[in-house]
């Protein structure tokens, strides 16, 4: 039985106190950073004031364009990789013999760090959006494939039998038991595919690009523009937060029937 050790017998802070303390902590951190930067001259750490200035400068110029580029790579890549991964996962997952025979191959593919293939993809597709899109598509395809594949094999056989006894045809059994039964697994894959897509796009851009947030970082680094590096990190962090929040909401909505909450960082 899971008992949240923390919040029992008045061990928890009230909501207001928590938010107040958080705000104080945040302000304190920013103030300390600013002070540290002023004291050391800001060569390594820059200062929040400078970072804010850089952000405003960028916002007036082409920050939106870079964000849009990164988003485009993510969205298009996911749109390709996710459906393919799910489809192949279901098809192969329900054929147990094929599944067993393909298992070593699949395990090997699972061990390849997809993001490390970025140089290869750049070699193949050159400059532009394609290599990043392919990278995101490949990563999300593999993720969704593995999860769906495992899920399709894990559907409770007794549930399927129960439907069969009621008179369900094979197609109805698939629609009403197998497919929904997979969604937990598919969700696990999707939930991780979103952040992973952001990582893939960023890596690709850092390696070779003229646009995108990853490019902003490596470009700023190349010019020793510390404020620029931190500014780009801030934007990337905000994007990451949005992506994670989206993934959590999506999972929460699709899996609202789940009795116990899964840990926040869980992956497959």
């Amino acid at each position: 039985m899971r008992v949240n050790r923390g919040c029992s017998e008045g061990n928890c802070l009230s909501e207001r106190t928590t938010w107040l303390l958080r705000a104080i902590l945040g302000l304190a951190l920013i103030a300390a950073w600013e002070a540290f930067g002023a004291f050391t001259g800001g060569t390594w750490t820059s200062k929040p004031s400078l970072i804010a200035v850089r952000l405003v400068q960028w916002a007036q110029r082409d920050l939106a364009w870079h964000v849009a580029t990164t988003l485009q790579e993510i969205v298009v890549g996911l749109a390709i990789g996710v459906p393919l991964g799910i489809a192949l996962g279901i098809v192969l997952g329900r054929a147990p013999i094929t599944a067993k025979i393909l298992r070593p191959l699949i395990l090997t593919l699972n061990s390849i760090p997809v993001v490390a293939l970025a140089p290869l993809l750049i070699m193949w597709f050159g400059l532009g959006l394609q290599p990043k899109i392919v990278l995101v598509a490949l990563a999300s395809f593999l993720l969704l494939f593995f999860n769906t594949f495992a899920g399709a094999q894990a559907v409770d056989r007794d549930m399927i039998s129960a439907l069969e006894l009621m008179g369900a045809s094979a197609r109805e059994r698939f629609q009403k038991a197998v497919l929904p039964g997979c969604t937990t697994w598919i969700m696990g894959g999707l939930r991780n595919a979103l952040p992973y897509a952001l990582i893939g796009a960023t890596v690709g851009e850092m390696m070779l690009a003229r646009n995108g947030l990853g490019y902003l970082i490596s470009n700023a680094a190349g010019q020793f523009d510390m404020a620029g590096i931190y500014a780009a990190l801030v934007v990337l962090m905000i994007l990451g937060i949005i992506v994670n929040e989206l993934a959590n909401r999506l999972e929460g909505w699709l899996l609202r029937w789940r009795p116990v909450a899964a840990p926040a960082w869980s992956n497959m």
């Binding site: 949240n4 958080r22 070593p104 191959l105 750049i122 700023a220 990190l233 926040a264």
Partner: protein, 257 residues
């Protein structure tokens, strides 16, 4: 109705099928390169094997492998120790956890690889910047898993010991630590994959040594055989690490069914 001999036979058939599939893939690769696809794009199994052999002969494989392993071990070690410590702290002091947690989540949302240019400026292009990156990645994973493990410990277990007269330190030793351990192991296991990936990608982005560097330098020279060769070594390393870790975990977690 199954009997023992036929079960062995079907197992053998499956094994044969698996081997066949792998051979087919290799054969398809071999025949596709040069005919369907240009050789320099895809290379072929033979060239890749030859490249690996050449690397072994001239010692460069070991050189780069050692660098990658060093980065991996140092980064993993530092990150794990710090992550477990932080996780324990946050788990045992939930009030601190609830205040700090939005900031932790925010930093976690950042693709950590983006920190690499910063680390390179601060720590140089050598091994230190990659170690720092891996340490950050591993830190977060162990932080969350340890904290969740502490949170998950059944409060009743501690209460029972307290009624017997146990002090807090005894409860920590006899209940908290053993109950949190499986969560820590899960975190350690998950972190190895991410650590290896981060190491290789970090080396590919900015380094002059390591397996990641081999991938990047081969790709810049359009040496596809080299790229695939380096990837093969990375995959082999991944299998090795997973295998070793699996043995270790199985031996020490027998009470968990």
């Amino acid at each position: 109705m199954t009997t023992a001999p036929s079960r062995d036979r079907s197992g053998l058939l499956i094994l044969a099928g698996q081997v066949l599939v792998i051979l087919l893939v290799l054969a398809a690769w071999y025949f596709a390169s040069g005919t369907l696809v240009k050789k320099f794009i895809l290379s072929d199994p033979i060239s890749v094997a030859q490249t690996i052999a050449a690397w072994i002969r001239d010692g460069s494989l070991w050189q780069h492998l050692v660098v990658t392993l060093q980065t991996l071990l140092f980064g993993y070690g530092i990150g794990a120790v710090c992550g477990i410590a932080a996780g324990l702290a946050f788990g045992v002091f939930p009030r601190v956890d609830s205040v700090v947690s939005p900031y932790i989540v925010a930093i976690y949302a950042l693709p950590k690889i983006a920190l690499l240019p910063l680390f390179v400026i601060l720590l140089g292009i050598g091994i230190a910047s990659k170690v720092a990156l891996v340490a950050v990645v591993v830190f977060f994973i162990l932080l969350f898993s340890t904290r969740d493990g502490v949170r998950d410990v059944d409060a009743d277990l501690g209460a029972v010991l307290r009624l017997m007269g146990a002090g807090q330190m005894e409860i920590n030793r006899k209940v908290l630590i053993p109950a949190t351990l499986p969560w820590v192991y899960t975190g350690l296991r998950v972190a190895t994959g991410y650590a290896l990936t981060t190491t290789v990608v970090g080396e590919a982005l900015s380094s002059n040594r390591g397996l990641g560097f081999l991938i990047e330098s081969s790709s810049v020279r359009f040496d596809s055989a080299g790229v695939f060769a380096a990837i093969v070594v990375v995959v082999a390393l991944s299998f090795l690490i997973t295998g070793v870790l699996g043995r270790f975990e199985a031996a020490s977690s027998r009470w968990r069914s």
